[in-house]
Symmetry: C2
Subunit: 173 residues, 2 copies
């Protein structure tokens, strides 16, 4: 990382107030790691207020471990989980098979790499509203998500920053 980042961290430390767990709103957000997605800004959240899980596409399947940990470790495990996918996502422009082919064609003769990617599910997004609904349904039906957990699914428009609710549900298992 460049020296600017280290200087920025020095400034941050000078003005730092450690957030307290009492500021936590019980909100768990699952969203994409895309640089243009800023969950703090978009939702007016401050450091300390939400658990923010980010992965390529904002996949709830990929996030499962990171949801189970706070749901079972936090003293008050009454979390609310919001799945948020965004327009213009890289994973809406390719399929898992196409990513596998890209990796294989970049590594000719590497049977080990071919075997690895053929075993990986990249969670591509065919239709953004459907992918949000599918992810919320996955959590609603998953036995590891605590029964009664409030769930919601959102789309964020990367052009405007606007979030729109697609679905609401409750964990059933």
């Amino acid at each position: 990382m460049n020296p600017e980042i280290l200087r920025a961290n020095e400034k941050y430390v000078d003005n730092y107030t450690r957030p307290d767990w009492s500021e936590f709103t019980n909100l768990v957000i699952i969203t994409c790691c895309d640089p243009r997605v800023d969950p703090y800004g978009q939702l007016g959240l401050k450091n300390g207020q939400a658990i923010i899980i980010r992965n390529a596409g904002g996949s709830a399947v990929d996030a499962l471990r990171s949801i189970v940990v706070p749901q079972y470790l936090l003293p008050d495990n009454n979390c609310e989980i919001a799945v948020m996918h965004h327009t213009d996502c890289g994973l809406s422009k390719v399929t898992t098979d196409q990513i596998r082919e890209l990796v294989k064609s970049g590594n000719p003769g590497r049977d080990d790499i071919a075997a690895m990617v053929d075993n990986m599910e990249f969670h591509h997004i065919q239709d953004i509203e459907e992918s949000v609904k599918n992810d919320v349904r996955y959590l609603a039906e998953h036995p590891l998500i605590l029964k009664g957990t409030k769930l919601s699914g959102w789309v964020q428009d990367t052009e405007t920053g606007k979030i729109s609710k697609v679905v609401e549900a409750m964990a059933l298992s």
Copy 2:
């Protein structure tokens, strides 16, 4: 999510300038989803500047899919990857086995749930510097991480906000 968050999003939209991919610094940060970890503030980053992957503990193993996607999909795949774990992490206070027992004791008689958690690796952290080094080594040696990718490992002190470099490496495969 509460109405305050929706009002905050309306304000955000009013003042939104869509970040451009030209602002991306090629930095990929893997860090924890803990509410007290704020990668933007800590590193002085603006929306658009970094890919930010977050999961419980900041596990590089868990983040693999989300690294492969940008490394192979972005036109300039010369990413630099920083793994950042933090002090006082929930996953440094338990082991994978203890989480499995917690889940099982919360769901007596549910053999399906017991089988699921017994198959899950929770990536607990025994020693924070060691866990950062192990994750950087995992990426350095992984055949799916592009050869020559710059890697670094960091610890963030949750008490002070300060980041400290633990290790640097380069992807070898």
